[in-house]
C-alpha cells in the first residue's frame, strides 16, 4: 500500500546584491536585498564606494580653494553647491555681496535646479522602462542650460563660478539674449514632456501609490527637497529661511499629496515651472554694477562657526564651517540632502517588487558623489 509522502518545498528568501555596478543605481550604490521570489523582504543600503574624503581634504585648503571641492559633491548641481558653501563662508567672515552678484547667483541656482530636475525626471522615467527616450529629450534641454553655464564660467560640469563675495566674473553680452531665448522655449518643452508621459496609463500603474513615504516618516528622517514636498509638507528653504534675495521673488511651492513615486515626479516637473518664473523675474530686475566685493585672497574669518544652507535641487544642502582664524576651515561638514533622503529607502521598499525597487530608488534622485563625499 502506498503512503502519501509530505513534500516540503524549501522556498526560503534569497539575497541579491543590486549594485554596486548596475545601470539603475546612478553611481556605485549597493542594495543588499532579500527577495522572496520577486517581493522584497528586506533591503539594506551599502554605500561608501565613492568616498573621496572631501570633508578632510577641505581642512587643508584655503576658503577659496574649497570651492572646486564643492563642485565635486553633487556634480549635477555644482552651482548650487558653490552657492551654499559661499553663503556659509560669507556668514562666517561677514562679507557683503553686491546686488548684481546676488541676482546672478539666483539665476544660476535656478537654472541649475532645472538642469538637475531634468536629469532626475529623465532617469526616473528611464528606470520605469521608458527606454532612453525621455532622458534623451531631457538631455537635449539640459544641454542648453549647460551651454549657458559654459558662457559664464567656461565649464560644462564643474563650474566653480560662485565665489566668496560674489561671482567669479560678470556674464558676457550674449548671455542675456540666450537666457531670454531659453526662457521663451522651455515652457513648451516641459509641456511636451507632460503630453508624452504625464497621463500614460502604464506610468500611472507603475508609479502611483508605489513607494509611499508618509508625511510623519518624511519629517522624522528630516527628508528635504522634492522628496519631502511630495509627501505633502510645504517646506522650502527659499521660503522658510530666505537666503540671498529669494524673498524678492514670487513663486509657489508645489507639493504632492500621497508621497508616492508619481508625486515626486510631478513635484519636480512643477518646480521647473516655478524656477522659470523666478528666472523671468530675476532677469527683468537684474541691476548693473559690481559682481564681486573686495575680498582678501586669503580669508581669515574670526573664530566661530557658521551654517549656510540652501534649497538645492535635491533638498536642503548645508555647509557647516568652523573657523580657528586660520586660512583653512577647521571643520568642514556637508549636510548632504540625498544621504538623508536615502535613510527611508528600506521602509519605502519593503513589500514591493524588484521592478518597484528600481523606480522607488530612482524617484529619490540621489547623486552618489554627494552621498559618499
Amino acid at each position: 500500500m502506498e503512503t502519501t509522502k509530505e513534500v516540503v518545498i524549501n522556498a526560503e528568501p534569497f539575497v541579491v546584491n543590486i549594485g554596486p555596478v548596475h545601470p539603475s543605481t546612478h553611481g556605485v550604490f549597493r542594495m543588499r536585498t532579500t527577495l522572496d521570489g520577486e517581493v522584497i523582504v528586506d533591503m539594506e543600503p551599502v554605500f561608501g564606494y565613492l568616498h573621496r574624503g572631501i570633508e578632510k581634504l577641505a581642512e587643508e585648503r584655503t576658503y577659496t580653494g574649497c570651492i572646486p571641492l564643492t563642485d565635486r559633491l553633487d556634480y549635477l548641481a555644482s552651482m548650487s553647491n558653490n552657492l551654499a558653501y559661499c553663503l556659509a563662508v560669507e556668514k562666517l567672515a561677514g562679507i557683503a555681496v553686491p546686488e548684481r552678484a546676488e541676482y546672478l547667483r539666483v539665476i544660476m541656482a535656478e537654472l541649475q535646479r532645472i538642469a538637475s530636475h531634468l536629469i532626475a525626471v529623465g532617469s526616473f522615467l528611464n528606470d520605469c522602462g521608458a527606454f532612453v527616450t525621455p532622458i534623451m529629450y531631457m538631455f537635449r534641454e539640459r544641454e542648453k542650460i549647460v551651454d549657458l553655464f559654459d558662457m559664464v564660467s567656461g565649464q560644462r560640469l564643474t563650474y566653480n563660478y560662485v565665489r566668496v563675495g560674489g561671482v567669479s566674473q560678470d556674464v558676457p553680452e550674449e548671455f542675456i539674449p540666450a537666457l531670454e531665448k531659453f526662457l521663451k522655449e522651455m515652457p513648451g518643452w516641459i509641456d511636451e514632456y507632460d503630453q508624452l508621459l504625464k497621463e500614460n496609463e502604464i506610468l500611472l500603474a507603475r508609479a502611483k501609490g508605489v513607494g509611499v513615504l508618509p508625511k510623519e516618516l518624511a519629517i522624522n528622517i528630516s527628508a528635504s527637497g522634492p522628496v519631502l514636498r511630495a509627501s505633502g509638507v510645504k517646506w522650502d528653504i527659499r521660503k522658510a529661511d530666505p537666503y540671498s534675495i529669494y524673498d524678492r521673488f514670487e513663486f509657489d511651492i508645489p507639493t504632492g499629496a500621497a508621497g508616492d513615486c508619481y508625486d515626486r515626479y510631478r513635484v519636480r516637473i512643477e518646480e521647473m515651472r516655478q524656477s522659470l518664473r523666478i528666472l523671468e523675474q530675476a532677469m527683468k530686475d537684474l541691476p548693473e554694477g559690481e559682481v564681486r566685493s573686495e575680498v582678501p585672497h586669503l580669508i581669515r574669518p574670526p573664530v566661530g562657526e557658521a551654517y549656510g544652507h540652501i534649497e538645492a535641487p535635491k533638498g536642503e544642502l548645508g555647509f557647516y564651517l568652523v573657523s580657528d582664524n586660520s586660512i583653512a576651515p577647521y571643520r568642514f561638514h556637508v549636510r548632504a540632502p540625498t544621504l538623508i533622503n536615502l535613510t527611508a529607502l528600506s521602509d519605502m521598499m519593503r513589500g514591493w517588487k524588484v521592478a518597484d525597487l528600481i523606480i522607488i530608488f530612482g524617484s529619490i534622485d540621489i547623486c552618489l558623489a554627494e552621498v559618499d563625499r
Binding site: F14, V16, H22, P23, S24, D36, G37, E38, V39, I40, V41, D42, L125, N126, D127, C128, G129, A130, F131, V132, T133, M136, Y137, R140, L196, L197, N200, I202, L203, A205, R206, K208, G209, V210, R350, G351, W352, K353, V354, A355, D356, I358
Partner: protein, 362 residues
C-alpha cells in the same frame, strides 16, 4: 510497398522545393534580422532625438555586419558554477523554433516551404518552445538576475499564451482553415477590419510573447540588467539576439498573414507587399518600444488574465455569432459594426479592469 515512406508526389519537385525554400527561409531570417537591427537602431535614434549608428557604411547600414563580426571574435564565457551542457544547449533550443516558424509563412501565393493544413496551430505550438530555451539559459547561468528573468518569462508565458491563441481562433473561423495559405486566400478584406478586437488582443499578446516593450520584463535592462542572457557572450549571445529579432520578424510576418492580407495587394508584386507589410508592423513594434514605460510582472499577468482573456472569449463568441447568423451579409457591412463593437468593448472593459497596486505585506 517498399516506397511507402516517400512523399506522394515523388519523384516530383518535392526535394527541390524543399531545398530552395529551406535556404530562402533561413536567408530571409538572417537578412531581415540585419535589416531590422539597423532599422530599429536608426529609427529609435531619430525618435529619441539622437543620431543612431552612422559610422559603418552610408547611414550606418553596415552596423549589423560590424556587430556580427565583433560578436564572433568575442570570448565565449561560461560561468564556473553554471550547468555547462544546459548553458550550451539553451541558445540552440531558443533559436531553432524561431527558424522553424518560417516554414509555414507564405511569402507569396504558393511560395512557402510547406503548406501545412494546420499551419497556424503549428506556429502556436512551435513558438512556445523558445520559452524552454530561455528558461534553460536563466537556470544554467547560475546567476540570480538571470533566474529572475527566466522565472518572469515562465510566469508570463502561461498568461499571454491563452489570449493570443483565442484571438487567432476568430481569424480561423472567418477563413475556415488553419493553413496560412488558405487564410491569406480568404482575405478579400484584410481581417484587421473584420477582426479589429482580435487584432488588438493578438498584437498586445504578441508583444509579450516576443518580449518587446512594454512587456520586456525578462530582460528589463533597468531592473535585472539583461535577465536570462546576462551570462552569455560571444556567438551564444548573438544567437539570443537573433532569437529576439527573429521572433519580432516572425510576429510581424504572422500579423501580416493573419490580419493584413498577407502578400495580397494592388500594383506591387506580392512578395514586395509582404515585405512592406512586415516592415510596417515591425516599425510599429519599434515605435511602441520608444514610447511607453515597462509594466511590472504582476501587472502583465493581471492584464493577460483579467483584460485580454475575457475580451478574447467575447471576441470569439461575437465572431461565431456573426458567422452563424449573417453568413450572407456583405463583409463590408460588417466592418463598421466590428470596429464599433471593439471600441465599446475595450472602453467598457477598461472601466471594470483594475490592476491593483501590488504591495505585499512582509
Amino acid at each position: 510497398m517498399a516506397t511507402a515512406w516517400l512523399p506522394p508526389d515523388w519523384p516530383g519537385n518535392f526535394w527541390a522545393h524543399w531545398a530552395i525554400f529551406a535556404v530562402i527561409s533561413i536567408v530571409f531570417v538572417l537578412l531581415m534580422f540585419m535589416v531590422f537591427v539597423w532599422v530599429e537602431r536608426r529609427a529609435m535614434g531619430i525618435m529619441q532625438a539622437r543620431l543612431g549608428p552612422n559610422r559603418a557604411g552610408p547611414f550606418g547600414i553596415l552596423q549589423p555586419a560590424a556587430d556580427g563580426l565583433k560578436v564572433l571574435l568575442k570570448e565565449d564565457i561560461v560561468p564556473a558554477k553554471g550547468d555547462k551542457v544546459v548553458h550550451w544547449l539553451a541558445p540552440v533550443v531558443a533559436v531553432v523554433p524561431v527558424l522553424l516558424i518560417f516554414a509555414v509563412v507564405p511569402f507569396q501565393g504558393g511560395a512557402l516551404l510547406v503548406d501545412l493544413n494546420i499551419g497556424i496551430l503549428y506556429i502556436v505550438a512551435i513558438s512556445s518552445v523558445t520559452t524552454v530555451g530561455v528558461f534553460m539559459a536563466g537556470w544554467a547561468s547560475n546567476n540570480k538576475y538571470s533566474l529572475l528573468g527566466a522565472m518572469r518569462q515562465v510566469a508570463s508565458v502561461v498568461s499571454y499564451e491563452i489570449p493570443v491563441v483565442l484571438s487567432i481562433v476568430g481569424v480561423i473561423l472567418l477563413a475556415g482553415s488553419l493553413s496560412m495559405q488558405q487564410i491569406v486566400m480568404a482575405q478579400d478584406i484584410p481581417f484587421i477590419l473584420l477582426q479589429p478586437l482580435g487584432f488588438l488582443l493578438f498584437f498586445i499578446g504578441a508583444l509579450a510573447e516576443i518580449n518587446r516593450a512594454p512587456f520586456d520584463l525578462m530582460e528589463a535592462d533597468s531592473e535585472i540588467v539583461a535577465g536570462f542572457h546576462i551570462e552569455y557572450s560571444g556567438m551564444k549571445f548573438a544567437l539570443f539576439y537573433l532569437v529576439e529579432y527573429g521572433e519580432a520578424l516572425a510576429i510581424s510576418a504572422i500579423v501580416t498573414t493573419l490580419f493584413l492580407g498577407g502578400w495580397r495587394g494592388p500594383l506591387l508584386p506580392p512578395w514586395l507587399w509582404f515585405l512592406v507589410k512586415v516592415g510596417i508592423v515591425f516599425f510599429v513594434i519599434v515605435w511602441i518600444r520608444t514610447t511607453v514605460p515597462r509594466v511590472r510582472i504582476d501587472q502583465l499577468m493581471a492584464l493577460a488574465w483579467k483584460f485580454l482573456f475575457p475580451l478574447a472569449l467575447l471576441n470569439l463568441l461575437i465572431t461565431a455569432v456573426e458567422i452563424l447568423v449573417w453568413p450572407a451579409v456583405s463583409l463590408w457591412v460588417m466592418v463598421p459594426i466590428n470596429i464599433a463593437v471593439m471600441i465599446v468593448l475595450v472602453l467598457l472593459w477598461s472601466r471594470f479592469f483594475k490592476l491593483g497596486w501590488g504591495k505585499v505585506e512582509v
